[in-house]
């Protein structure tokens, strides 16, 4: 994929990819907040999170991270297979 990049170009690419990773992390974080808030918080008789809501959010975070890991593995496998298939065609 990086056929024929000079060292300087490689460095530039690495910098860009690092920036992209930070952006990606913020994206994951944002989705996590949106998802767990939407799923867990629905009681606005108070402005503080209830015990129930806190517990739900904590479980949601753990579960979401397990999901990320599992889907990350599947995605890697499937993407590799798809790339190989496309090159075969």
């Amino acid at each position: 994929m990086d056929a024929g990049l000079t060292p300087a170009e490689s460095r530039e690419l690495d910098q860009r990819l690092q920036k992209r990773q930070v952006k990606e992390f913020m994206n994951v974080f944002g989705n996590l907040v949106d998802n767990c808030f939407s799923a867990c918080v629905d009681d606005f008789t108070s402005k503080a999170l209830s015990g129930r809501e806190n517990g739900c959010i904590a479980r949601c975070v753990v579960k979401s991270m397990s999901t990320q890991t599992r889907l990350g593995e599947r995605f890697g496998e499937l993407n590799a297979a798809m790339t190989a298939e496309m090159q075969r065609r």
Binding site: A8, R20, E24, A39, T67, L71, F75, A81, M82
Partner: protein, 91 residues
């Protein structure tokens, strides 16, 4: 870009880097979309438990596989349909 019929000029530094970065961007976006959709389809949204149940885990695996298959089929069909309609779909 080719002038005078010499054929394609060598890609510039910026173009090469942009190409790699763009490919990764496309892949990362696909990953992000897949996670969002499969989470919604497979996880118990009441979050009564903090651990993935076996059923949820299997659902995620299958969701990922189907997502990729659908992606490929849609890509192929879109290409066919676009050509059938004279390639003007995306003008």
């Amino acid at each position: 870009m080719s002038f005078l019929g010499f054929g394609k000029a060598a890609p510039s530094s910026a173009e090469k880097i942009a190409a790699v970065e763009n490919e990764l961007k496309v892949v990362a976006e696909m990953h992000s979309r897949m996670v969002k959709i499969c989470t919604a389809k497979c996880l118990d949204t009441t979050y009564r438990e903090g651990e993935l149940s076996k059923g949820e885990g299997v659902c995620l695996d299958r969701c990922a596989a189907k997502f990729f298959e659908a992606h490929q089929k849609i890509s192929d069909q879109l290409q066919k349909e676009t050509q059938a309609r004279g390639g003007g779909f995306m003008s």
